[in-house]
Symmetry: C2
Subunit: 372 residues, 2 copies
């Protein structure tokens, strides 16, 4: 279980085509994971996710811990049964939300005491708690409890944080007694400091995880800073283990990440922007509220095969959005997720055929042509 | 077209089993019509409506007139194409909303000047306008422009209103030049006054409409007052034309209406209460927010075959509702509509087998047993 097979490597880029086996099915990489923060990918059913080709979804340990509680989900038979998703699930460790969402917090060597963003009650979470919760959830891939340092941050603070995150990773591994049923991935931190990224990677590789995530990006740095970091961080990681870039990103980011050797991605962007009326398309971004679409009786994206584009016009989608109809969120979300998954499908095919450079060149040329 | 075939009449009740042909398909009666006020049955796709057996949906002329405008929908190819529903559509005339939703209004013989509930702009609507809008929408069944008088209301006021509604109905008929493509139904008014219901029915029957609606109920009267009115109003109507009870109601109301000879119903209740976390089930009403369901890992309704009951537990539905997830509205709406349509399916079958009385007796006995 959790065997990662490297099927093909691009000869002109660092892109990789892989396959990861999990107890709930095979994941073909590179892969994008739709985010179901509260045990629901917003506005979607799990059947719809399967229909558009989602191979794995992500859910958030922090959110499920504060509501409805992981013991309830365990009693329901685990997260898969609770939310009716039979494919693989990755859960984050809660670390990111503890540091970004929760109220007043105190970090010690033991872990973090914080206030729930829902009702302000005090909660303690450390490595052992994060693992216990993820055991209750029963996810296929769990993440170690880490501190995601902000950007910018002082070198000294980040170094101390990286070392603590390493100690926490070790404790997570020790607390994890069922590696055959649930994989535990390490998380590389270190901000924008190459020496600290190296330090983090070396220490975690020594702990020998079945997969490694790149954390601490997409937290306020510029796009160029992120790309610079992605130019070297994946090279610090074992070639035979999956690499997961946490919380990234836009379609462009996914392509940039794949070209740099990343295998897995997750982001709330496609679902969130959909609810705000924004669609990604092969003809550029479409802000459906604009009056230019009032009588536009063409699909969001004429090149798209999703149900939204097959059956509905921009004029109708604009009407739904203006009228505040739930169907607006549904149809826009379906399209954006389909668009992301389709890009990943095309990338996987391009890597198999070793035409990744050509595919990416065409992709970015089209993007430049469609930016309005 | 619009031929109404009476297939079977119950020998022990006034229930009727009929079939109405329209340009977009056949409607088996008695029938419940889900309401898509703003060209969307809230939270549902039209494919889902078809999947659960909806045979006709209703949309609101007033709402579509103020947004996005019926000329836009005409340009889209009509309401069917605009909203991607290939089955029959009934549109109301806008009368009800003009009198219940709109701001400051002035009624004259010509029609009504009112303020849009969206932006306050002044709009005039009379019989000719209501027909022109419904022509633009291209609904299979249109309704005459009427005044829906409140309950209670003075006899003299209701009499004058009924006579004006009759004159408006005549003007609607004269303005309607395509009776082969769109049927126009008359609307009986008269409040709770039997003599005025008789007066309204006689005058409208003289105008010879292909169907008749009972308007002006479910507007504040008691349940007993509504049932008393339904005890005689359907008998005032031609036996060979479909009878439509506007804006009614709960599952119980539908059964009561069918037993009294009504063929068609519409109501926002199943979709609206679903969004507020309330489900109708064979075991009684379920208010999903209640803490008793926190760890209830059984379906909303064990006797139900809908996707919600097949795949999700009350505990999950409660979590979704508490978390404010869109999926909550979707799954609850799907169940409630399925429940309504299933009751109508069973009623049609009971009438065919001439066991309507027995079916209704069992239905109400079960309802009494499950009221908590």
């Amino acid at each position: 279980m959790f065997e990662f097979e490297l099927i093909k490597q691009s000869t002109t880029t660092k892109a990789r085509r892989g396959r990861l086996r999990t107890p709930h099915g095979v994941i073909e990489t590179p892969v994008f994971m739709p985010v179901g923060t509260q045990a629901s990918v917003k506005a979607m059913t799990t059947q719809e996710l399967a229909d558009i080709g989602a191979m794995i979804i992500l859910s958030n340990t922090y959110h499920l811990h504060v509501r409805p509680g992981s013991d309830l989900i365990k009693a329901a038979g685990g997260l898969h049964r609770f939310m009716n998703w039979s494919g693989p699930i990755l859960t984050d460790s809660g670390g990111f939300q503890v540091f970004s969402l929760a109220g007043q917090r105190k970090i010690t060597e033991e872990g973090v005491t914080f206030q729930s963003h829902l009702d302000g009650r005090r909660i303690f979470m450390g490595p052992e708690e994060a693992i216990a919760i993820q055991h209750n959830l029963g996810s296929d891939i769990m993440m170690v409890f880490d501190e995601c340092t902000p950007i910018p941050a002082e070198h000294e603070y980040v170094r101390q944080s990286v070392d603590r995150t390493t100690r926490w990773a070790k404790r997570c591994k020790e607390a994890h007694d069922r590696p055959e049923k649930q994989a535990l991935f390490g998380i590389i931190q270190g901000g924008l400091y190459p020496d600290l990224r190296q330090r983090s990677a070396s220490a975690l590789i020594e702990l020998d995880f079945p997969g490694y995530a790149i954390g601490g990006l997409s937290v306020g740095e510029t796009k160029q800073e992120m790309l610079s970091a992605l130019d070297y961080i994946p090279d610090l990681l074992p070639v035979d283990k999956p690499r997961y870039l946490m919380g990234v990103g836009t379609p462009d980011d996914l392509v940039d990440g794949v070209l740099r050797g990343v295998d897995m991605f997750d982001c709330v962007a496609p679902t969130r922007i959909a609810r705000h009326g924004l669609a990604w398309t092969s003809q550029g971004d479409v802000s459906i509220k604009q009056s230019r679409y009032e009588r536009d009786f063409t699909p969001l994206d004429p090149a798209c095969g999703c149900d939204t584009c097959q059956h509905y016009t921009k004029a109708y989608l604009r009407h739904l959005f203006k009228a505040g109809e739930i169907l607006s969120a549904r149809l826009m979300t379906l399209h954006n997720l389909h668009y992301m998954l389709e890009i990943m499908r095309q990338l996987r095919q391009a890597i198999e055929q070793d035409v990744t450079s050509e595919w990416a060149r065409d992709y970015f040329a089209n993007r430049r042509a469609t930016i309005k």
